[in-house]
Symmetry: C2
C-alpha cells in the first residue's frame, strides 16, 4: 500500500502512523476518523520517498494507478472532477515528515488549474477575480517549486502591476489585472525554462509530487535536520487534498488557533484569522489578522471570528475541545471557512514557551488528561533555562549592533569596560558594567564577577568566558567576531557603531545579540507550576544532580535550584583572588620547601574560610573539592609590564622572575606539569589544601553541629601509583586533623577520570578510590586530540561538514569519549563495587549526555548552577525513556 | 624443607631450582652433583626470605634446627667443628637471588671466628699472620654488613697502621700488626654500637643470615631491581658454605675464569688468578692478577697458573669443559686453590660483549651444544646495536668532561659548532663538526645531517635531537645538563673546562660521555657469525620489520640492515629543506587556494624526486608515506630577526608576517590544527603530495620496470568521517595519475592510529582503511596526558618513584597505551579482516614492545634504520618465547 486515503469519515491511516504518513498525513487521517470536517485526500507514504531516492528519482510501480484511484474517490466525495472544465477538482500538494520541519519543505496549492479548468472554476465560484487570482498564485508557486524559476521575477512583475494600478495590496487588483498577470507569468516561465507552463494537470500533479520529495534533500532541509538530529533516511510523505478556499468572498476566512495560550499556557482558546484570504496570506503578514475571540484580543478592538462567524466559531470551539482531549496535548490548528462552512486542514502539537510548557503540562495532569510521567516528557529541558535568567522585555525596542554566540543565557545592561580592574572599580561605586574583551583568562574571574555580563570577540561556546559565565549564571555573548576592540583607545567598533568606554550596551546571552543602549529586562519567576513539575521530576529521576560551584553565592544559587551537593569545587579559582595571588606567586618562586610552606601558610586561613562558607551553604550535602589543578605557570604574570610590577611586589629582580616564568613555560601545558603531578612534586600544596578542607569541616561540625561530607578529589590521575602516593599523604593530613578534634566526620578520597589511561586502568584505580568523577572536558581534549582553545580554526567547519554531528565540548562524543566512560565505569565498578561515579565536565548539564550517564548508572551528574533544573528534568526524562 | 644441603657429591637441590635456591645455591648443588670439588654447605631458600619479610624479620619455625643439622653434616664432611677452639669450622654466608644482581647484596667470609676459635685456626693453619688477617677481615665485613658500622673507620685505621709500618699493601703487615688491628677494630665496634663485637659464633651466624635477607631491600638493590625489572617478591636465598682459603701460602691461589673469551667469543679457556690471596683481593684490584694460561696472557710475560700450578691447571681444564658442556653456555667460574687443592666456589653464565655473544651462540650450534632456537635467545637484542655503530677505541685514553643521556649510539669527534649553518659550512670544506645546542628543532635537520654527532644540554631520550639522531644513525648525547652554552660568545662551559667554537670534542652516544679532544674510534664489523645468526632469526620471526626513514641514505642503510620496507616516511622533513622552506612559507601565507596551489607547484617536482629516490632504494618493498603532519606554524620563522628576514624574501611586510605567525599560534599545538585536519582545511596540500607519490611510483614502474607498493598514510585521524573525506580525495588523485599511465600499480590508503578515539572506533575506520599504523609517540602523549617535550620537569622523578616502571616514551606503556593497541587491533580486524597492522612510533624498536606487537599479531613493526637488526632479533625471540 503506497497511499493512504482519508475522507468522508473514513481513513486508512491514523495518528499512530507518523513514521509512514508524516505528521500532517497521520493527523489528517485521525481528524477524518474523528468525524471532523476535513477535505478528502490521500497521503503518499515516506516509503515511496525512500524508494524515490534509491532509484534515481523514479516512482515505484503501481503508484500511478493508486494515485488515480484515490483521485477518483476524492472526485466522488467532493462531486467535481480533476481536469474538468466545468466542475474542476483542485488539490493542494503538501510535504509532511515524521518530525515537524516548519517551512523547510515545499507546498503547492490550487493544483489542477489550466486554461480549460480555469473556466470551470469561474463558473463554479462565479467569481472571475478569485479564479484568476487562484491561477496566478498556482503558477507562481509551481514555477518556483517545481520548475525552479526564481520567485523574484514574479514578485517584481506583481509589484509593477500594483504600482500601475495604483493599489498597495494584492487583493485590490482587478480581474483583468490578474488575467494579464497570468499571461505575463506564463511568458516568464517560457522564457526562463524554454518550455510552456504545463497545461496537462496530470503532469502538474506528478511534477509537484516529485518536487516535494526533492525538497527533502534541499540544502536548508539538510541543515535543519543536522541541527535537529533528524535522520536523513526518514524521508517525507506527500499529502494531496481537495482544495477549499478562504478567499472566495466575505463569507470565507482562514485562520490558525491554539487550544491553549502558547505564551503563558493559560487554558483558553487562542488564535487569529483573516477574512477572505488564503492560508499563505496569514503567514505573509500583508494584512493584520484579527483575534478569533475576546480572550485572544489582548484588548484590541478588532473584529473577532466569534462575532463575525458566530455559528462557525461555536463549531470550532467544539472541534478544539475534541482535538485537545483526543491528542491530550495543546494543539495548533489550521482551519478555513469556505462560504460559511468550516474545514480543518491541519492539527499538530503546538509550539510553546518554556513557562507555557510547564503550566500546560501541570494543568493537564490536574485535568486528568495525562499523568505526571507524561507531563515530565512535555517540557524540553533546554527550554527550562529560559525560565531562570532575567530576559529582555520582549516589548522594548532595541538596536541590535551585532550577534555573537549565545554563550550564557540571561540579559544585562551596563557601561562598557575593557578590563577587569575597571569593572571592579565601577562595582565599588555602585555602577553596572559589561566587560568587553578579546577573550578572558583566569585572571579575569574577579572582574567577570563584578560585571553584569561579558562580551568577547573571540572564543566559542566553551571558551573560558563562556564556561565561567555559565558557571556564574551571568549573561555572556562570546565569539562576536564583528566586534573590533581597541584597548588602547578604549573603544570597540561594530558595523557602523563606535562604542566608547562608559557607553551603555545590553547583551542578550540567550540570543547572542549585542544591543546599543539600555534595554529593560523582566525577571523570570518560578511559579507554582514549576515547583509542581519539579516535584514529579525529583520523584522520578534516579540520577543525583550536583553543581559545579566554588563561590558561596554560586553554591547558594545551586542549592536553591535543587542541587544535591557540589560535584566540582575548583580550588584554583580561589588562588586567583587578588589578595591571594601574591602569596601564590611567592610560593611558586620559593626555592625550598620551607619557603613554600611559609607562603602556603598565608593562603591557608583564606582557603579554610572559603570552605567554611561553601560547606555552610551545602549543609547536609556532599561537597567535592578538587585539589589544585592548573600548571603553576598559569599563576605567573605574562607581559613584561606585569612581570616588573610583580617583581617589585615580591622584592625580587625582574630577571629572576622572567627566568622563572621562562623555566616554567610549556609547549603543551594541557599535557604538562599540572594536576596531581604538581601535587606529587610539591606535596605541601595539597597538604595545605586538605588541612583547610578538613579543619573547615571539623569546625562547622563542632560549632554548628551539622552534617557535611567532604570529598577530596585528586585531579589528573593517570596511574594507580600516583593515586596511592597522594591518597596516603591526604589521609595522613585528614587523620591528623581528626585526631585533634574527636568528631564524627566521613570524608572520601577519589579522583577525576580525565586522562584516557585512567579510564583504561580504572579497575586498578578503583580499588584505591572512593569515587570517580569523569572530567569530560579534558577527557574530550585528550581522547579526540583536540585542544578546546585551538579548535576554533577548524572545529566549526568540522561540524558543518558533519565530521562531528555536534560540538564535542557541548554534547559528549558518546561514540568516542563515551566509550571511555563506559570502559571506565565497568572496570571501575569491577575494581570497587561501592564506587561512587559522577561527571563534572561541562557535559554534565547537557541533556543527551545526562541520558547517557543515566544509562551507565552514574550516581550523579554535576553542572553549572543555572543548569541544575535542566539537569533534574533531563534525568527524569532519561529514567522514563529507559524504563520503556 | 627450608634448607638444601650440598656436599660430598650429593645435593638436595639442582640447577633447575634457581627460583628457590638462587642462582648461586642452585649451581653449587649442581656442581656438587657433577662430582666437582665444591666445599660442602647448604642454601636457605628464597621462601624463607619471603617469610622473613612477611613476619617482621622473624625466621620461620624449625629453621634453627635445620641450620644446625646441616652444620653438623658439614662438620662431618670437612672434619672440623663450628665453635671449636681446636679445629674450627669457618663458613662464608652469601646471598644469591634468582637473577644475578652483581655486587648488589652482601657477603660475609670467615664467619665462626672469635678469640677462642682463632686459636684453633692458628693451630690448624700453623700461620698466625694468616689467622689474624682472616679475623680482622671478618670483623671488618661483619661490622659493616651486620652491625652497620661505617667501613670508613676501619679503612682509615688500616691505612694508618700501614703508614706506620711503612708498607703499602695489606699483606705486608706482620702478625703483631694484624693482632693489634683486631683489637682496635673491636674497640671501634664497641664505641660505635655500644656493644662488644659478638663472640658467640651462633649469634654471628644468625646475624649474618638476617643481614643478607635485609640487603634484599637495600636502596641499591631496590634500584637495581627496578632498572632490571626484577620482581621484589622473588627474594634472595642464602648460601652457607665451608670456607676454603686461597691465602694460606704460596701453594694457594684464587681466580676467575671464563670458558670462552668474553670479549671476542673465541673458543679458548680464559681467566686470571692471584697467588696467596682471598677472592675479594681480585675484585679490589690491589695486586695485578696473572693470566691462567698463555691464551689469556695477551702477550704479557706474567707467570701463568698453567706454569705455576700445572697439575691443578689440568684439573681446572677438565672442570671447565665439563661445566660448559653441562650448562651448554659460556661459564664464569670462581675457584680457589688451598694448599694445592682445587675448589670451585661458583659457576654462572658469563657476561659477554655483543660480538662475543653472537659468535658463541653460532659456534655452539656448530658444535652441536645447542640448536639455532636457543642460539637466538642467547643474544640480547639491545646489545646488537653496539655492533652497528663505530665505537671509541677502548684502549685510547680519554678526558671525560661530562656525562649526558646516551641518546643515540655510536661515537664521533669533530669541531664544536653552535649552529646548523656552521656545521653545514664546515662540511662543505670537508671538516667534521659536533653540533652543540640547547636543544634542536626541525629546522636543524640539515645541520644535524651535516655534523658527525649532536650534543644537547636539554631534552631527554626521546627529545627531537635524540629521535632524529637515532633515525639518522648519528651519535647523540642529549640532556647533558652540566653543559652551559653561551651562543653569544660561542663557548660552552662544563666542569672546569671552557670549550670554544672550533675546539675538538668527542661524544660517545652509547655511554653519554662528552670527552675533550679527539678519541680514535674503531669501526664495528658485521662478521659471518652475525650473518649466520640473523639468517636463523629471519627464518624464525613472524613479524615483519620495516624502517622509519625519509632520506635515500637512511632508506639504503635500513635496507642494508634487512628492513622489509619503509613503515614511516615523514614528508614534513622534506618540507624543511632550505630551498623548499621558502615555497612552503609562501604557501602558508597565501590567501587563496590558487596562490597556495602555485606555491605547492614549486614544491611538487622536488617531492616527486624525493619519492623516486626512496622508492628506488626500497625496490620491491612497500613504502608507507605519511602525508604532512605538523601544524603549519611549525614552518614559520619565530624570532623577530627571522621574521624580518623571511618577510624580505617573501616580499611581504614584517607586520603581515608577524600577524600570520600570531594568528597561527596555538596553546597546545599537539592537540591543534595538524595532521589530517590541515589536509581537510587545505585539500590541495595532500593532493600535491599524493600526486608526487603516485607519479614517482608510476615513472619508476614505467621506466625501470620494478615493483613498488606505495602506501599512503593519513595522519591524526580521529573519526571515520575524516578518513572517508580524505580517502575519496586521495583516491581521485591516484586514479587520475593511473588513468594517464596505464600501468599496474597497487597502492593502499590507510591511517595512523595515534589519537585515542581512533583506537576506540577502529572498527568503523577499518571498514574504510587498508592499513593501520599505530603512532605510539602521539598515542602515548594523549593516552597518558603527557607532553613529551614538557615531561622533563617531572618524568625522571616519576620513574624514580616507580610511578612508571620505565620511560613510557622508550618502552610502550603496555597496561595503558597497550590496552588501546589491543582494542584498536581487535576492533580494527573486526571491521576489516584483511587490515594490515603495524607500529611506527619510537617504540617500534623497543624489544618488549616488539614482543607485545607480536602477541597482538601485528603484521610489522617499524623502527629507525640502526634498530632494524635489533628488531629482527627481538621479533624472533618473541616468536620463540610465545611458542612455548
Amino acid at each position: 500500500m503506497q497511499i493512504y486515503f482519508f475522507g468522508n469519515g473514513k481513513a486508512e491511516g491514523s495518528k499512530e502512523q507518523k513514521a509512514l504518513l508524516g505528521g500532517k498525513g497521520a493527523n489528517l487521517a485521525e481528524m477524518t476518523l474523528l468525524g471532523l470536517p476535513v477535505p478528502p485526500g490521500f497521503t503518499i507514504t515516506t516509503e515511496v520517498c525512500t524508494h524515490f531516492y534509491k532509484n534515481k528519482a523514479e516512482f515505484p510501480k503501481g503508484l500511478e494507478k493508486e494515485v488515480y484511484d484515490a483521485l477518483s474517490k476524492m472526485e466522488k466525495i467532493v462531486d467535481c472532477q480533476f481536469e474538468s472544465s466545468k466542475n474542476p477538482l483542485l488539490v493542494s500538494v503538501r510535504s509532511g515528515a515524521r518530525a515537524s520541519m516548519p517551512g523547510m519543505m515545499d507546498t503547492i496549492l490550487n493544483l489542477g488549474l489550466n486554461e480549460s479548468t480555469l473556466q470551470g472554476l469561474i463558473i463554479q465560484s462565479g467569481d472571475e477575480k478569485f479564479s484568476y487570482d487562484a491561477y496566478r498564485r498556482f503558477i507562481q508557486m509551481y514555477s518556483d517549486v517545481v520548475l525552479g524559476v526564481s520567485p523574484h521575477y514574479f514578485e517584481t512583475l506583481l509589484d509593477e502591476v500594483k504600482r500601475k494600478a495604483g493599489v498597495t495590496s494584492d487583493n485590490q487588483l482587478s480581474a483583468p489585472d490578474l488575467k494579464n498577470l497570468v499571461s505575463s507569468f506564463k511568458q516568464i516561465v517560457k522564457k526562463e525554462t524554454g518550455q510552456p507552463f504545463p497545461e496537462d494537470v496530470k503532469e502538474q500533479l506528478w511534477g509537484a509530487i516529485g518536487a516535494v520529495f526533492k525538497s527533502w534533500m534541499s540544502s536548508r532541509a539538510v541543515s535543519y535536520r543536522r541541527i535537529h538530529k533528524i535522520p536523513e533516511d526518514w524521508g517525507t510523505a506527500v499529502s494531496i487534498q481537495a482544495m477549499v478556499f478562504g478567499n472566495m468572498g466575505e463569507d470565507c476566512a482562514t485562520g490558525v488557533a491554539f487550544t491553549r495560550d502558547p505564551s503563558t499556557g493559560e487554558k483558553k482558546f487562542f488564535g487569529e484569522y483573516l477574512q477572505n484570504a488564503q492560508g499563505e496570506d496569514v503567514v505573509a503578514g500583508i494584512r493584520t489578522p484579527c483575534p478569533i475571540n475576546k480572550e485572544s484580543a489582548n484588548g484590541s478592538s478588532l473584529p473577532t471570528l466569534e462575532a463575525q462567524f458566530p455559528k462557525t466559531y461555536l463549531e470550532l470551539v467544539e472541534v478544539y475541545k475534541k482535538l485537545e482531549k483526543h491528542f491530550t496535548d495543546m494543539q495548533d490548528i489550521e482551519f478555513t471557512i469556505q462560504k460559511g462552512k468550516l474545514y480543518l486542514l491541519q492539527t499538530r502539537t503546538g509550539k510553546r514557551t518554556a513557562s507555557a510548557a510547564v503550566r500546560i503540562a501541570v494543568d493537564m495532569v490536574k485535568e486528568g488528561l495525562i499523568n505526571s510521567d507524561v507531563a515530565i516528557t512535555r517540557v524540553a529541558p533546554e527550554q527550562l533555562e529560559q525560565l531562570l535568567h532575567p530576559r529582555l522585555d520582549p516589548k522594548a525596542p532595541k538596536t541590535v549592533m551585532a550577534k555573537g554566540l549565545p554563550a550564557s543565557p540571561g540579559a544585562a545592561s551596563g557601561e562598557v569596560v575593557f578590563s577587569s580592574e575597571e569593572s571592579e572599580a565601577l562595582k565599588k561605586i555602585g555602577k553596572k558594567s559589561i566587560l568587553v574583551r578579546h577573550e578572558t583568562s583566569p585572571e579575569d574571574i574577579v572582574g567577570m564577577d563584578a560585571s553584569e555580563g561579558i562580551l568577547t570577540a573571540l572564543g566559542g561556546m566553551t571558551s573560558h568566558a563562556a564556561v565561567v559565565a555559565r558557571g556564574m549564571g551571568k549573561p555572556c555573548v562570546a565569539g562576536c567576531g564583528s566586534v573590533s576592540i581597541d584597548y588602547k583607545s578604549q573603544v570597540f567598533k561594530v558595523a557602523q557603531y563606535t562604542v566608547k568606554r562608559g557607553d551603555v550596551i545590553t547583551i542578550d546571552g540567550a540570543s547572542g545579540e549585542v544591543i546599543l543602549g539600555h534595554v529593560p529586562t523582566v525577571n523570570s519567576q518560578l511559579d507554582q507550576y514549576f515547583s509542581e513539575l519539579m516535584k514529579w521530576v525529583d520523584e522520578t529521576r534516579v540520577l543525583g544532580i550536583r553543581a559545579n560551584a566554588e563561590t558561596p553565592n554560586d553554591v547558594k544559587v545551586a542549592r536553591g535550584f535543587g542541587a544535591e551537593g557540589v560535584g566540582l569545587c575548583r580550588t584554583e579559582h580561589m588562588f586567583f583572588e587578588e589578595n591571594r595571588l601574591i602569596s601564590v606567586r611567592e610560593m611558586i618562586l620559593a626555592d625550598t620547601r620551607s619557603q613554600r610552606e611559609a607562603a602556603l601558610a598565608k593562603i591557608y586561613p583564606m582557603q579554610k574560610e572559603d570552605f567554611i562558607a561553601i560547606f555552610r551553604e551545602m549543609k547536609g550535602y556532599p561537597v567535592t573539592v578538587r585539589l589544585l589543578d592548573p600548571p603553576l605557570h598559569e599563576f605567573l604574570p605574562k607581559t613584561e609590564e606585569e612581570i616588573s610590577h610583580v617583581a617589585r611586589l615580591l622584592n625580587t629582580s625582574k630577571e629572576a622572575l622572567t627566568a622563572k616564568v621562562r623555566s616554567l613555560h610549556e609547549f603543551n601545558p594541557m599535557l604538562g606539569h599540572r594536576g596531581c603531578r604538581v601535587g606529587i612534586s610539591y606535596s605541601e600544596i595539597y597538604a595545605m589544601q586538605v588541612r583547610a578542607i578538613m579543619e573547615a569541616a571539623a569546625e562547622l561540625v563542632n560549632r554548628e553541629d551539622f552534617k557535611i561530607e567532604p570529598e577530596i578529589m585528586v585531579p589528573f590521575i593517570g596511574t594507580v601509583e600516583e593515586f596511592k602516593i597522594l591518597k596516603n599523604e591526604i589521609k595522613e593530613v585528614c587523620e591528623a586533623v581528626l585526631k585533634k578534634q574527636p568528631i564524627k566526620l566521613t570524608y572520601r578520597i577519589g579522583t577525576m577520570i580525565e586522562i584516557p589511561r585512567a579510564a583504561l586502568v580504572a579497575n586498578k584505580i578503583a580499588t584505591e578510590a572512593d569515587f570517580f568523577s569523569f572530567g569530560t572536558n579534558d577527557l574530550t581534549q585528550m581522547t579526540l586530540g583536540l585542544s578546546r582553545d585551538d579548535s576554533g580554526s577548524f572545529l566549526p567547519r568540522y561540524i558543518e561538514r558533519g565530521i562531528f554531528s555536534v560540538d564535542p565540548f557541548v554534547s559528549l562524543d558518546q561514540e568516542g569519549v563515551g566509550e571511555l566512560l563506559k570502559i571506565g565505569c565497568e572496570r571501575g565498578r569491577n575494581g570497587n563495587p561501592n564506587l561512587k561515579i559522577g561527571i563534572c565536565g561541562e557535559h554534565g548539564g547537557d541533556t543527551s549526555t545526562i541520558e547517557f550517564c543515566h544509562r551507565l548508572k552514574f550516581n550523579y551528574v554535576s553542572c553549572s548552577p543555572f543548569r541544575v533544573p535542566v539537569a533534574r528534568l533531563a534525568a527524569a526524562q532519561a529514567t522514563l525513556k529507559n524504563k520503556k
